[in-house]
């Protein structure tokens, strides 16, 4: 089975190629089938490989499939080969399975849209690029996937291209990540030059061999790569693009901007964690940045009225938790949260999509309300997702992973308790804003009539993901709930085992369990006394406006980067160098006209010229 690994990225790539080349000639149904099936095949193979792995892991838990040599030159060899280890396996399973579900959902969600096959082509291409990203054995190949998902994200955010605002959002998402990617490229160049290879495992080995712990080079390299990761994962200070990226179709947001692509930064750090261990300063920066991101995004989510924007900020915030885990070296905890987050956030987005489909694409939560009865499936799915997001203890997957992170953070030396407090505060706000949405959307009076009906392509993904959100946490449980360590065991060969927990952990855990419930209670209270509805109707104050705009980073970047660039463009637009040439040619012409005046046509004047010339010649010869 393992030798079919190449089919996992190849199958969606083929789907994309077929749809891209002859999509317009195919009937919608065929496009849907090709699009979904190609990812489905990938998921099927991925599951088979996973089962096979479970039965008998390959030697040293690594599976390498060499495809071809991309380029080999003296000083640089890059192989295109697939590298599957437990981390990649986990990612691959999540991407293919959730990807399949979202494709399935999309067949119904996008029905009747112009560019139906184009949509599936992009989505397939995205899955292929994402798989290439995680399976790459070489950093440069990873970068190929990295940029590939970026372009697909761009294309999908701007899928409804008729609206210029979508185009703007798409460009913004691409440019912001591109800026970060340049730093990543610089990091790759640094590694390539200093270590002589970009093949990840030999490169990491050489890094540990050559570079001292905490040295300047590993810090620089890790820092540069981190910037790339932060950009892709929409972390502070690059978080601005993600809320705008919600302009794309909702399934796209679910797949790309929640479950998979935005976690690429996390994956990058985990993949290169050996390098990051050499750079403690960078790890510290990661955790501090993560703390900031968690709070900023959670606060911003609290005041959004667009359901997708709430989810977008929650994604930023939740990925912040993952980075928080990475910052303290709890790699497995970060990966576990990635897993649960992928499931419940996909669920939340798809639920939101299912709602929007029935409400004529209404996304304002204040215009919804009372949907509990009219859309029971969406209600239950969203509720389960929100519970997970809020980390309602025991019953939700999110609780298990968030607990694990907070537990690990507490023990981090030095700033550990501070970060833990930030995480806990974040959890409180998270619970509040997620149930704010639940109450506003599903309870109270209805504001918008519900139309149409949803079929199986909508229901199946929702049910499966809801089940996942409820159950997946049990793969990895705290000791008092049985102490299952399935994820840890899987990841152990790559990431090592986390530090054993000490007694104080009980208190820490308890706080983690209580805080979400507290948050829900706050949300309920504020909903009951009509606070949310009132402030939404009122003119927003300065603080509210600040929160709403995500702390004004857009304006800051506008003033710092966009305006200077545009000024430069305006100044140079007409090519100042060209003016110089125009001047020279004008001067030449002027010279021509001046000289031309000598050609006056009169014999006497001409004779004078001759005489002057002769005299000048005499003067030159005789007197010089």
């Amino acid at each position: 089975m393992n030798h079919l690994l190449w089919l996992v990225p190849a199958s969606p790539l083929m789907g994309a190629t077929i749809l891209g080349l002859c999509g317009t000639m195919l009937p919608a149904r065929a496009a849907a089938i090709i699009g979904t099936a190609s990812v489905g095949i990938a998921a099927f193979i991925a599951i088979l490989i996973g089962l096979h792995w479970y039965a008998a892991a390959p030697p040293s838990h690594i599976l390498i499939q060499h495809l071809w040599t991309w380029l080999t030159l003296p000083g640089l060899t890059v192989d295109i080969s697939l590298y599957l280890d437990p981390v990649a396996l986990l990612m691959m399973l999540v991407i293919t399975i959730i990807g399949t579900l979202i494709h399935l959902f999309s067949t119904a969600y996008m029905a009747g849209e112009a560019g139906y096959s184009r949509y599936f082509a992009y989505l397939n291409l995205f899955v292929a690029a994402m798989l290439l990203l995680i399976l790459a054995s070489d950093l440069l190949v990873l970068f190929v996937g990295w940029e590939g998902v970026g372009v697909c994200s761009y294309l999908l955010v701007g899928f409804w291209f008729q609206d210029a605002a979508n185009g703007y959002a798409a460009r913004k998402s691409f440019i912001v990540t591109r800026i970060a990617d340049i730093a990543m490229l610089a990091g790759i160049l640094l590694l390539a030059v200093k270590l002589g290879t970009l093949s990840i495992q030999p490169m990491l080995a050489r890094a540990t061999e050559l570079w001292p712990h905490g040295g300047a080079w590993p810090t620089l390299a890790a820092g540069l790569l981190l910037i790339g990761g932060l950009g892709k994962s929409a972390q502070f200070p690059f978080q601005t693009w993600l809320p705008d990226a919600m302009a794309g179709p909702t399934p796209v947001s679910a797949l790309i901007h929640a479950a998979t692509m935005v976690t690429a930064g996390v994956y990058l750090v985990v993949r290169l964690h050996v390098l990051y261990l050499l750079a403690p300063d960078v790890l510290l920066a990661i955790s501090i940045g993560a703390g900031i991101t968690i709070l900023l995004a959670a606060l911003a989510a609290l005041v959004q009225s667009d359901i997708k924007r709430v989810l977008a900020y929650s994604t930023i915030s939740q990925i912040g938790y993952m980075f928080l885990a990475l910052g303290v070296g709890a790699w497995s905890a970060g990966m576990f949260h990635f897993l649960t987050h992928a499931v419940f956030k996909a669920l939340l987005f798809l639920s939101a999509g299912a709602i929007a489909m029935r409400l004529d694409h209404e996304q304002d939560i204040f215009k919804m309300g009372g949907l509990r009865t009219s859309l029971p499936l969406a209600f239950w799915s969203f509720l389960i997702g929100a519970a997970s997001l809020a980390a309602v203890p025991i019953i939700s997957a999110g609780s298990f992973s968030k607990e694990m992170i907070l537990g690990a953070v507490w023990f981090a030396p030095g700033i550990g308790p501070g970060l833990w407090a930030a995480g806990l505060l974040g959890a409180l706000i998270t619970a509040t804003y997620s149930f704010r949405v639940v109450f506003l959307v599903f309870f109270g009076p209805a504001h918008t009539p519900v139309t149409g009906r949803s079929g199986a392509p909508i229901a199946v993904p929702l049910v499966l993901l809801a089940a996942g959100s409820l159950l997946i946490g049990w793969l990895e449980t705290p000791s008092f709930l049985g102490g299952d360590r399935l994820v840890m065991t899987l990841l152990h060969p790559v990431l090592g085992s986390p530090a054993p927990r000490s007694a104080l952990a009980i208190l820490v855990e308890a706080a983690g369990y209580i805080v979400p419930l507290l948050g829900i209670a706050i949300a309920y209270t504020l909903y009951r006394n009509g606070h949310w509805q009132r402030v939404a109707a009122a003119e927003p104050g300065a603080l509210r406006r600040l929160l709403r705009t995500g702390f004004g980073f857009d304006a800051l970047y506008e003033a710092l980067l966009v305006r200077p660039f545009m000024a430069l463009v305006r100044a140079l637009r007409h090519d100042p160098v060209d003016h110089v040439v125009t001047l020279i040619s004008a001067a030449t012409l002027q010279l021509h006209h001046t000289l031309r005046r000598s050609q006056i046509g009169q014999i006497r004047r001409y004779a004078a010229w001759l005489m002057a010339g002769s005299i000048a010649t005499i003067a030159l010869l005789v007197f010089a």
Binding site: R596, I600, G601, Q602, I603, R604, A607, M611
Partner: protein, 105 residues
């Protein structure tokens, strides 16, 4: 036999030449222009005579005959053209013949 210094005739020739030159530049009438050229040519001729005198060889005189020839030929041609110009423009003003030029009037 008193040998005449060559300086005086040479200076005379130079003066004649300059007079011709000035005449050429100063007079509008083509008749005078042609005459001025004749004066210049004859100045040169005088110079040849002077040279012959100075060095005592006949080359100067030979050359002078050729110069005279040339002056005649040129004058003949010049007068023809002058007459044709006069027929066309009813003037002898050389400056009037300025159809060929770059500067627009």
């Amino acid at each position: 036999m008193v040998s005449l210094s060559w300086h005086a005739p040479a200076t005379l020739a130079a003066m004649l030449f300059i007079i011709g030159l000035i005449g050429l530049l100063a007079r509008r009438s083509l008749i005078f222009v042609l005459m001025s050229i004749e004066i210049m040519l004859n100045a040169a001729g005088l110079l040849f005579i002077t040279a012959g005198m100075r060095w005592g060889n006949p080359q100067g005189q030979i050359m002078f005959i050729f110069v005279i020839n040339l002056a005649g030929a040129e004058l003949a041609l010049g007068l023809i053209l002058l007459l044709r110009l006069r027929n066309r423009l009813t003037t002898l003003d050389g400056d009037a013949a300025n159809r060929l030029r770059d500067v627009q009037a």
